[in-house]
Subunit: 375 residues, 2 copies
Amino acid sequence: MKPFKGERIFTPGPVELPDAIREVLGRQIIHHRTPEFTQAFLETRNLFKKLVGCPEENFVFFASSGTGAMEAAVLNFFREGDKVVAIVGGKFGERWAELGKRWGLEVVKLNVEWGKSVDPEKVENLLKENPDCKGVLVQMSESSTGALHDVKTLGEITGKSDALLVVDAITALGVYDIKPCEWDIDVLVGGSQKAFMLPPGLSMLWFSEKAKERLTDRAYYFDISGELKKQIEGQTAFTPAITLILALRESLNILLSEGMEKVEKRYRVMAEGVRRAVQALGMKVFPEKPTISLTAVFPDELDADALRKEMLKMGVRVAGGQGKLKGKIFRISHMGMDLLDMPVVLSALELALKRLGRDIKLGSAVGAYLEAVNE
Amino acid sequence: MKPFKGERIFTPGPVELPDAIREVLGRQIIHHRTPEFTQAFLETRNLFKKLVGCPEENFVFFASSGTGAMEAAVLNFFREGDKVVAIVGGKFGERWAELGKRWGLEVVKLNVEWGKSVDPEKVENLLKENPDCKGVLVQMSESSTGALHDVKTLGEITGKSDALLVVDAITALGVYDIKPCEWDIDVLVGGSQKAFMLPPGLSMLWFSEKAKERLTDRAYYFDISGELKKQIEGQTAFTPAITLILALRESLNILLSEGMEKVEKRYRVMAEGVRRAVQALGMKVFPEKPTISLTAVFPDELDADALRKEMLKMGVRVAGGQGKLKGKIFRISHMGMDLLDMPVVLSALELALKRLGRDIKLGSAVGAYLEAVNE
């Protein structure tokens, strides 16, 4: 039976757009060199400042996808020849290493088995062995494996060193109540199409005072100093993604009305529930220490892609594995979701398993989820 | 009397969004790693191929504003130390020179008085004096002055040399029936928020076979080779501006249904009409050889910004001067406009002049416009 409602997406970006945001996206355009835009942009900046909870205005927005802001981090805070440690435990960790190499950094790779989280002690030792290290590049939520890296502990380590802690928080910002100042994070990167529930095309980059002192003039389109000067005044160096800035204001209002503590709690409850649900079906949660933004599931001997295909017939889209995990895992995103959205994807999962001949008791995953949520 | 309908924008980007495009923008998001997106993207690419009228698939889209694609041109087609000529006759010409310097090129500036168009003979002579020149960077429509540079003649010149002709056509593509292959253009850059009538955040870059041979691997986010490989298959290297790609398909359908010859004719008629209208009011068209994308007006002893302010009270927004032209000119965009939109902006202009104490005959500008259109 083909679903009449169209596809429901449970992918870790893009995520479903709330109606209130779609309404903003469909509005007639306004010009960006106007008091109207400036006011809206300054409001958006104020809301973003509340989100990160730091007093400084050290952040900029770019008209780009998240990778653009990652490139901005590498170009603006490091010089050619600078030594950095890239923590590589998935596809996005690899991206840090690639970016570092492309822009002339000396990249020391700290390889982490895919699905595992980095051992902070290893980072500490590496920094001791490399006292000339200028930065540690890491994901908070490595969405290709579903693993969470403990950036708070990493901040304690880099905070005592000369190195900047550069965190790709693209699938963590707007999920976790991240406090970059308190946690000694130096650079924090976010993207619009994740927990901000917007279309892709807008990225965010926050940085510390320690990072600010290292700003270079290597970039042009992604030049942080130039953008910051303009953005503090409610303008941008180049044409901004007007529509996405206006929609981000709406998104931040949604997040801050709920309150980031409660938002994180909601994700925590959903994630815990989904983990128990997949375990109730005899499947494994893939990462050792999972992020709450999404759950990566290892369905053992079952073909993860066959399962996804079966779910898709019911109009439910979950993500597959990336890179070396292709066909081995599937990933259920929680971003932009509410507690009662998960029974939809879990029901589809149960039916898909049944249709693929697995002997499961229908309702068992949803039941386990609801039990967890009800605790 | 405050207008109840809200602001009407006649600015050279962003421009008014057609309803059909707003409808696409307000839709629920779809995932980009899907056959559905791939199909839509390939359709969009096919339509874009028709627009430029070249058989090759040599073009990519970026999630960025137009400046991002300009940066891509400089990074991908030139190496450090390459000598290029930048034609600087306005703010956007300056941007070419800045970008060239930032990415290590040896930039020979060919300064053109603001408002004038470059003399192709001067370019030809410069290329003779600099046989090692690898490129000529120019705007087709220099929107800060309203001047048109004759890129067709420039193409004849660079075509006989080793230099690539790199054209910022951000306010020309979708207005003029540009034929980059026939005109010997090597790189053509466009932006979504101009004649494509979309929000900003998507840029386009087309290139010739001659340019293709020079592709470097200097860029990462703006890496053309990497993007091209993916985009030919209907995918992208990094997350695309999904919504804007889908809306671009709509936009290209609108343009191609009218037909680019007719589109150009429509702009030509509007531009000629507006020029006669402002002259009927005793004002001057600022550029010597104006583009048809917009009309830059020099209101003589009148303060252009006071005039703009007066028009804004009636809900009509035109653009001011940029850089050294600030306060001296105002600019009326024709992009995304229909013949009967111009009487709106011209009526506001007439009323504004009257209110500022000018002795003009109301209806004279609109009359002159309609006479021109009716020819």
